[in-house]
Amino acid sequence: MSIRKDVVKKAHLLNRILHENSEQYFHSRPMASSRSAIVIPEKKEKHLFNVSYDIKDLLSIAALTQSSVLMTGGTDTGKTTLARLAMNGLLGKEEEGWHRIDVDNDFGKDAYTDVNFGVIVDGKKQSDGLIQASPYLFLPGLIADEINRAHPSIINKLLHIMDKDISLPNGERVKIGCSVGGIKYQFQIAAINEGADYSGTFGIDRALRRRTIIEIPMDIFPPTPFDRLCVQKYGRKETVLKNSKSNIEDIVDIYKEIESNLKLHTVAEMFTNYLAAFDFCSYSLSGEKGAVQSKNGSVRHICAGKPIQIGDLPTGDEGDGGIGCFFLRTFENELCPYVRGISSGITKNLIAVSRGFALLRATKFVELADGVVNGENKKALSYSINNPDEFRASLKSYVGMPVEGRDLVNAAVDKYITNLEVELCDVESALGFVGYSKLGISDPWVLKYYQGNRYEAVRNFSRVARDKFEEGLARTELANLEAVLSGQGSPNDIDNIRKYCNKENPWLWRVLEPYVQNREINSEKDSIDAIYGS
């Protein structure tokens, strides 16, 4: 099943609307960029092109994947302005399509409940709805501003709102969000001033942070000099919310379509599992970093010396006689003990957001295909290619038809959308924002090697993980991997793979093992059928 073409078109239009509506907000710094490709299997070739995403793309992705956003950073970075413009562009008028709540010390149950006196007038029981959730909770958009200006005890209330599941003072549970197309939808954006410079704020509760899916650290992506000049020349004092039309039905249509029909490419699926495999620890008694008491967010203290051995259990350490754990020397800056694997929850969110990146990548490919025909090899914050002539030739091979001009664009777009999948590059783009604070990375380590910039630390983790992942798949020991994973490899093949992984790439074995087990489970089932008769 492939994604519908009209859904990509809708996403393209919505993203354009968001951009146009928020043109008062000047921010042209790329937030993420990736190398994608059109794949021509017959020639065993892929033609690369670059794609980049701006902050408004990121908000489109968040809305289309129903991923809540946490914008962090100093004052005057325009967090609230951008949030309002994005909400207005996508969902129309304030209080009709979205609501903004200011979270402060007065935020409590009164802020999200209403008393319906009509119940008393009608002579009904109180349980029949005297206390009800405030209507704004059922709008498709919600901005929670300055959420760390409230005392941490109050934050608990907000926690449930971000969970989209609250209990009213009378004990009634309410699912919040707007009911459209058979689902509940609410796009949430939270903003905080974070850092020691902000008096009167509180550190954001970790649980609340985990409720948000995409984090945008605004301080790491400051406006460019061009943006500053634009602000100087065209900036307005008041934010003008121009749009009055809600696009909620299109948004929900897109959300449902990509959730059900946008699949992961095999390599992306395996890479996501590879990121999760980083919880492996050769010296941990359980084999997991999670079971080791961490110090300053790392398990580095157990990497030196010899691993503890209980009974005759093998430790799995097959280093080459070095000091301490061999895997400590696998990555630069001794990465292994300082980084945890992504949890199941993050994996789920990562895939959801990666779907959004894949969808927007398709819209950028449409712009690219159109641009190539017109000789444009670059469009700011969208795409770039090195050689339009060469790319045009590759496009022809890609569509497999001798067509030119507009026909070539149409054929290429059709094929690209039909074959659209979440690729490794989408996972990489998403990880920096989904894993920003949720990926277990030691803060002192980030400070030491990345000047305290978590975004770069996460990105670098993704890069080195990808390198090691690709190294594993390229090794001659894995030459028969496809056969092995399809259940046609010999025990010797599996043994070779396992040996390599045990010695040099244990993370990869954690990716491959479930597929091998799957094969074993299936074959076990077959044999039971053979015994009992099917």
């Binding site: 065993k44 390599v267 290619i385 060469e390 690709e470 001659t476 496809e482």
Partner: protein, 306 residues
């Protein structure tokens, strides 16, 4: 239970078009080996052990082997070896320098005319003839008359005496087309070449490029003298065999006997040889590089596959 199409994994290593994959250059491969070496060994050991970086082409027709050591706590290259089967004979021969010895099996004097279109003036006294710089030695064979036994080419002994050894080593091409035609009949060709480092040989330049800026700084601080000879010799040995008619295999090795590693000026020479097989290496080759103890690679038999 899981529906996963594993054949899609191969797409990861499809040939990439549209952007130059710089890593697949020789310098890129050396850099990659150095980086791995630094990460794995130089952070843990004050003096890194010798390791061999092993790049094998996907179709197992070519190997690139790099010997890496640590020098002043930085990686350095001490040897490079290229093994390849079914090479372009003419192209490789034009890159060879040094003392050449070729062995033949069954090439008769009368065949030489067919090959190069010229009569050969055989000296009956010592069964010797010269074609260009190539000296051909015959042995009388009762059945097949005069059979070429071996050919010797010693470049630069006469004509090039005025040239500096450096020029001979790096720039002189002594083998012309007629010699190539004759040598293409050889069953085995060995070419050896050597050059002292420093003096009239290769000057050891201040490191740039593939070595780090720190190294340059270190040398500057310690009054590095680029003309000072570090001692040692660069040696080059090429073996070409013809396992079957018209198919040639190459085993090229260059190494340095000093503890300093190879000078940067040798890089163009290495690239010249690497270009003979570079199209066989892919992103998969690059990513799948192994950096191991030389004995470990040898014991596993991987080096001998080609």
């Amino acid at each position: 239970m899981f529906e996963t199409n594993f054949s899609r994994i191969s797409e990861l290593f499809f040939r990439e078009v549209g952007e130059k994959y710089d890593e697949l250059s020789l310098k890129g491969m050396i850099r990659f080996a150095f980086k791995k070496y630094e990460t794995a060994y130089l952070r843990a050991f004050s003096n890194g052990p010798i390791k061999r970086a092993f790049y094998a082409s996907d179709d197992q027709t070519a190997l690139l082997l790099l010997d890496v050591i640590s020098s002043n706590r930085l990686p350095d290259l001490t040897a490079l070896e290229i093994k390849a089967i079914d090479i372009d004979f003419s192209s490789v021969m034009k890159s060879l320098r040094g003392n050449l010895t070729a062995e033949f099996a069954g090439l008769e004097v009368s065949d030489i005319k067919k090959i190069i279109g010229e009569e050969t003036n055989l000296s009956q006294k010592d069964n010797y003839t010269q074609i260009g710089l190539l000296g051909l030695y015959f042995s009388p064979d009762p059945k097949r008359k005069n059979v070429v036994q071996r050919a010797i080419l010693n470049t630069g002994e006469k004509d090039d005496a005025s040239l500096k050894p450096r020029k001979l080593f790096l720039e002189k091409t002594a083998i012309d087309d007629s010699m190539i035609k004759i040598l293409s009949e050889a069953s085995r060709i060995v070419v050896s070449n050597s050059l002292p480092l420093g003096g009239n040989g290769i000057q050891v330049e201040r490191p740039q490029g593939i070595r780090s800026a720190f190294r340059s700084l270190y040398n500057l601080v310690h009054n590095y003298d680029p003309d000072k000879s570090p001692g040692g010799v660069i040696q080059e040995l090429s073996r070409i065999t013809q396992p079957e008619q018209g198919k040639y295999d190459l085993d090229y090795r260059i190494w340095v006997t000093s503890k300093e590693g190879m000078p940067e000026s040798i890089i163009p020479r290495l690239e010249e040889f690497f270009s003979k097989v570079s199209n066989r290496f892919t992103k998969k080759t690059f990513k799948g590089m192994k950096l191991k103890d030389p004995a470990e690679i040898y014991d596993s038999g991987e080096e001998r596959k080609i």
